[in-house]
């Protein structure tokens, strides 16, 4: 029996129409990066220039204009105190992005350092830090923060403390795992055999090579931080009124959900938009930084 085994098709890639491929989720990392980057870029610019863009003072009361639906004068309507929702959403962007960025960054810093130390020094350091991780993870994060803020009082600083204390463990584990793997690699052993001191090996040779996954995680973790902050504000533990904050705005809008839907909707959309942007950015970054596979 005779068969010719050669055929000239280039494979499934050209056969399936493009639309179906997109539906199967085969976006390139590049498009995710661009999409996510654009959204976050947009939000960031809006946040930075909020004081320029906002048509009204976000905390000024105007009881005459209370509970107005979206219109030309008030793009997103007004709340029960007559404050322009649009301006409030804009101002809150700055605050929320700032807390999300710094809060997550502090977690990244603390967690990475501890993870690096645990993985590199091993033995006692590893055991101690490992136990610490176990203890922190045992408590549900948000409960700890609530307890902390109740005790220490409501303030921005305490919010940062709470976020950092509960959020560093994921980074520590990530970096510790990478460090353990890197420790056995020949180039680290070379550094040892060349007589380099251990701080030099740890910070100059190991750290740059293990930090990338933590950094990628940072971007996607910001989504979680934003949700955390907005949730805490919803519970009244975040920035206090009259400071506009997306979560707090949603909380304040609860009594008016049925008659003035716009007060809760727009901050909610803002949270979703920012979250999606960060998720895409994180995904795109992960794809971009991962070496090209075949």
């Amino acid at each position: 029996m005779s068969i010719a085994l050669a055929d000239t098709d280039i494979g499934a890639g050209k056969v399936l129409p493009r639309v179906i491929r997109m539906m199967l989720g085969r976006y390139s990392g590049r498009s995710k990066l661009i999409a996510g980057g654009s959204i976050i870029g947009f939000v960031a610019i809006v946040a930075i220039f909020s004081h320029v863009i906002a048509p009204y003072d976000p905390i000024k009361l105007n009881l005459n204009a209370s509970l107005r639906p979206p219109s030309g004068a008030h793009l997103m309507g007004t709340d029960e105190f007559g404050r322009d929702v649009f301006s409030r959403v804009l101002y809150s962007a700055r605050l929320d992005l700032q807390i999300a960025a710094f809060g997550t960054f502090f977690c990244f810093l603390a967690g990475s350092l501890l993870g690096l130390t645990a993985g590199f020094l091993g033995r006692v350091a590893d055991i101690l830090i490992g136990r610490l991780i176990d203890v922190v993870i045992a408590f549900p994060g948000i409960i700890v923060i609530i307890a902390l803020i109740s005790v220490l009082g409501v303030s921005l600083v305490n919010l940062y403390i709470g976020i950092t204390i509960t959020g560093w463990t994921a980074y520590a584990r990530l970096v510790r795992g990478e460090t353990l793997a890197a420790k056995g690699l020949p180039y680290v052993e070379s550094a040892r055999s060349l007589g380099y001191s251990w701080p030099r090996i740890m910070f100059r040779h190991v750290m740059p090579n293990v930090i990338t996954p933590a950094f990628i995680f940072l971007v996607t973790d910001m989504v979680g931080t934003i949700l955390l902050v907005t949730s805490l504000s919803y519970l009244g533990l975040g920035p206090q009124p009259p400071t506009p904050e997306w979560g707090a705005m949603i909380a304040e809008a609860r009594p008016f959900m049925l008659q003035a839907w716009w007060i809760a909707l727009f901050p909610g959309l803002a949270i979703v938009l920012t979250g999606v942007g960060l998720a895409l950015l994180g995904d795109g970054l992960a794809d971009a930084l991962r070496p090209e596979q075949d």
């Binding site: 020949p186 070379s190 090579n209």
Partner: protein
């Protein structure tokens, strides 16, 4: 008691790992901690400027031995003497200072270099840490190092990712040279390379030895490669040296049945020769359950009862040619016992 016979003298080195045994083909001892005797009493010496080859199959302990010699692994017992100094007694700064005298080159060129450090910076770092030269001449020294391994000085600005395997291995050697060592331990340095690159690196090693007088311990599994590069060869089996002597002598007049088996098994690039007869059956054994008596007896084509009852030690058969085999060292007593039936 230290001897100053050689540049480096290793005496009675042991390394025992405690591991969980893999399920042993379904055996009942699965999962329990057992002893893995990776290196089980090895002594050797290397003279200045000498190349010692260490050959063995997987599981023989040659890599562990190499790592212990450069202090990347702590021995469970034994001494490593460098120029008369017992290296194992040192620690901290004293050890770090001595480390520049002996360096290691690894097998995998792709993992041997820090991917985030440029070639030139990596070499300069060695110079800086060990205060070799001055800041002013560091650039020149880096260029010299690259030239010594036959690379262009323009490679200093590159990251390892942009170098080929052969180039990376050369950089690894350059990095070892930067510390100005008297001894370089090379752990399978050409095993993952193509033949043409392998030849280049082997010739480079020979040149470095003749020009700089550096001694080498060359660990490998390819007999012809090790024969080509080494002055003396040690054959390892299950954590012990079973034969040692001048390279030519050991391979043209092997004394140990294992050495003979290795030589016979290796294919030669000669189409007129038949496929080797596979004189040694079975697999290289595991260092977890080391048998009593001669550890090679169960695979040995000439084994006798004497071999099961007594563990041979390395003895001189001729000057400078030692072997651990009763057939060679105690033929009379050995012959009187029964031949073991073939497997």
């Amino acid at each position: 008691m230290t001897t100053v016979n050689g540049l480096i003298a290793v005496r009675n080195l042991h390394k025992v790992f405690r591991v969980r045994s893999a399920a042993n083909g379904g055996g009942r001892r699965a999962g329990r901690k057992v002893e893995l005797r990776a290196v089980d009493g090895v002594s050797l010496q290397v003279a200045p400027g000498e190349i010692l080859g260490v050959v063995g199959e997987s599981g023989c302990g040659k890599s562990t031995l190499a790592r212990m010699i450069v202090c990347l692994e702590e021995p469970t017992d034994g001494e490593v003497n460098f120029d008369g100094i017992d290296v194992l007694q040192l620690s901290g700064r004293a050890l770090r200072a001595l480390r520049k005298r002996f360096q290691i080159v690894f097998q995998d060129p792709y993992l041997s270099l820090n991917p985030r450090i440029k070639v030139g910076d990596a070499l300069a770092e060695v110079l800086r840490v060990h205060a070799i030269g001055t800041k002013a001449d560091r650039n020149d020294r880096v260029a010299d190092l690259l030239r010594m391994v036959e690379l262009g000085a323009d490679l200093r600005a590159r990251y390892p990712a942009h170098l080929s395997g052969g180039q990376r291995q050369r950089v690894g050697i350059a990095r070892a040279l930067a510390a100005q060592p008297s001894l370089i331990v090379a752990d399978e340095p050409v095993s993952s390379m193509d033949v043409s690159v392998q030849a280049q690196i082997l010739n480079l090693i020979r040149r470095l030895r003749s020009e700089l007088g550096i001694a080498w311990i060359f660990v490998g599994h390819d007999l012809s490669v090790v024969h080509y590069i080494a002055d003396r060869i040690a054959i390892m089996y299950l954590g012990r040296i079973v034969e040692e002597g001048p390279a030519d002598l050991v391979f043209t007049s092997p004394l140990h049945p294992y050495t003979k088996g290795l030589l016979e098994s290796a294919p030669k690039p000669d189409p007129r020769m038949k496929i080797p007869a596979a004189p040694l059956q079975g697999d290289p054994p595991s260092p977890i359950n080391i048998p009593t008596g001669c550890r090679f007896a169960r695979r040995c084509p000439i084994a006798r009862q004497f071999c099961l009852d007594h563990d041979p030690d390395l003895r001189s058969h001729e000057p400078a040619h030692t072997v651990a085999c009763w057939a060679a060292t105690e033929p009379a007593a050995w012959e009187r016992t029964e031949i073991l039936s073939a497997r």
